[in-house]
Amino acid sequence: MDILSNLAMGFEIAASPYTLLLAVIGCFVGTIIGALPGLGPSNGVALLIPISFSMGLDAISALVLLTSVYYGAMYGGRISSILLNIPGDEPAMMTTLDGYPMAKQGRAAEALVVSGVASFVGAFAATIGLMIFAPYLARVAFKFGPAEYFALYMLAFCTLGGIGSNNQAKSALAAAIGLAIAMIGLDKTTGMPRFTFGELHLMDGVDFLVAIVGLFAVAEVFFFIETHGKDSAIGVKLGKILVPWKMLRQTSGAMARGTGIGFVSGVLPGAGASLGSFLAYMAEKSASRDKASFGTGNPAGVAAPEAGNNAAAGGALVPMLTLGVPGSGTTAVLLALLLTLNITPGPLLFTERPEVVWSLIAALLIANIVLLLMNVPMIKIFVHILSVPAWILLPGVTMVAFVGIYSLTGSSFDMLMMVGFGVLGYVMRKLSIPTVPVILGILLGNAMEDNLRRAMVLSNGDWTFLFSSPIAIGLWIAAILGFVAPIFLRGLLKKPALPDNDPTTIED
């Protein structure tokens, strides 16, 4: 088997004591990042990229460390959802619906174990899915020319904008702002400076790490000062951790269904983990015989969204690795990591640097097992960390953000720019303009323009070339659907989240 021999190669690289240690550290830090309210996976990975880069880690070690953080944060998000009723990150939102009621009934330990196992099932199955589908998609991706890539980028922006926001104009604007920022610097084709206004610091363009850390972490500081980090005391008791085997058996169906739904929505570019957990929860609720118990502490309502959210996290790696198009905010940050490490994701990555891909996959499998151990028997450690007060935590995180950027660039200009992005991120969040499309725009802007221009060189300036192949047309149609359809689906999808009096549910 091709996959197995590749995987063996991956394990050979990833299973060294040093990388294992990095995976354990990454999982630990990631779970903490996920558990702390306000510090999501995107934030966490963004903060750690510059630091791991200035530590001089090699590509594979950095990749192992930060993907462990990524998976860890996806696991950790559920902890504060269940114990505090505050989602640790956005995809963990759905876990609060049944997790917190369970905790209030004194079943916090069960909820944590079930959700931990569900996270493991989702993430592990998704990693296997990644192993199977990614090489296949990479082969398809070889057929992609510049016109197809341009359409693919449009698809990513459109679905991310369509699903991620309630106002299409705002998310499109966010993407355009990101693209506009990406244009700053030297034009690759002609070598002419654009939008630099004679400022030497801008010649290389705006570093995407500066933008990411500013938009996510620094904006969070302003937001936190304003809200004063409303009370985050743990209001529920956590008893002894026992494995509720019966409950695990009962929820195994929910985990399996959540995994499937989550993986598919993760693979779709732009959809991401939040949609995965949302759809998994809604599907589980409508498939259940006992709908009324959802929202009042049904274990299946904890298992399904957690499996969905973690499966989506794995699924999102498929388009990111094979096409270089991230499926969510966090994978956008992981793409930033790959670009920082001089690894260009795409079909060539699988043939030219298979060791990177397969050691990453092996690391993910290892990370999942480490995370299962950390998140079930050792869960109490993380619960204690949740009680670190915000007035220590937030200044600390801010300083880590500055240290990262400073040690990477050593210039005050970049730090000032980061603060500027922080203000922009704060204003945008206030206006409920999503910030993830900005990041995506900055990351993909140059590649998008490059592909457009190469397509025009190939066609000698004929714009219909962009719609000339079946793949390109399919992508354009999907892009338009992804952007427009949520307008109509929104009413349909949001409705069931309220206590539903839908006449169709009475029938059974």
Partner: protein
């Protein structure tokens, strides 16, 4: 009624127009391609203008903007971070970090004494973590003071 969406939209329109103006000044070299370096920026600016017009004409409900004292607090945080960006190179890591994290701590948790101690702790603790354990190239104290 003035709404945040309208102001933001108008500002973006002005920026986008400036962007177009600036893009007109981009020089092309003799070895350019059919599209050239100006067209894609034009397209982006057009998208920005269309979206901003939608925001100006059909704004969403107004967000709760901070007022009075909170605005001052945010301005202080902003000022501290800007000052930090300028101070870290000449003054080294520990002193500006202790100051900035102390101020942020005070803003979030109140209690000046506790904030001062937290600031000092973070300044020294993070320096030990980053410089001594992780080995990043940070200078602890102002140039010529050692470390």
């Amino acid at each position: 009624m003035i709404r945040g969406d309208r102001i933001f939209g108008s500002v973006v329109i002005v920026i986008a127009l400036g962007y177009i103006l600036s893009a007109r000044g981009i020089e092309t070299s003799f070895m350019s391609d059919p599209v050239g370096p100006r067209v894609f920026p034009y397209m982006i600016a057009a998208v920005m203008i269309v979206c901003s017009l939608v925001m100006v004409l059909r704004p969403d409900p107004e967000a709760d903007w901070p007022a009075g004292p909170m605005l001052v607090q945010l301005a202080i945080a902003f000022g501290v971070l800007v000052a930090y960006a300028y101070a870290i190179t000449p003054l080294g890591f520990i002193v500006p970090t202790a100051f900035a994290s102390g101020v942020l701590c005070w803003q979030i948790g109140g209690k000046p004494v506790r904030a001062a101690i937290t600031g000092m702790g973070l300044g020294i603790g993070l320096w030990v973590l980053f410089r001594l354990i992780l080995g990043l190239g940070l200078r602890g104290l102002p140039a010529g003071w050692g470390f």
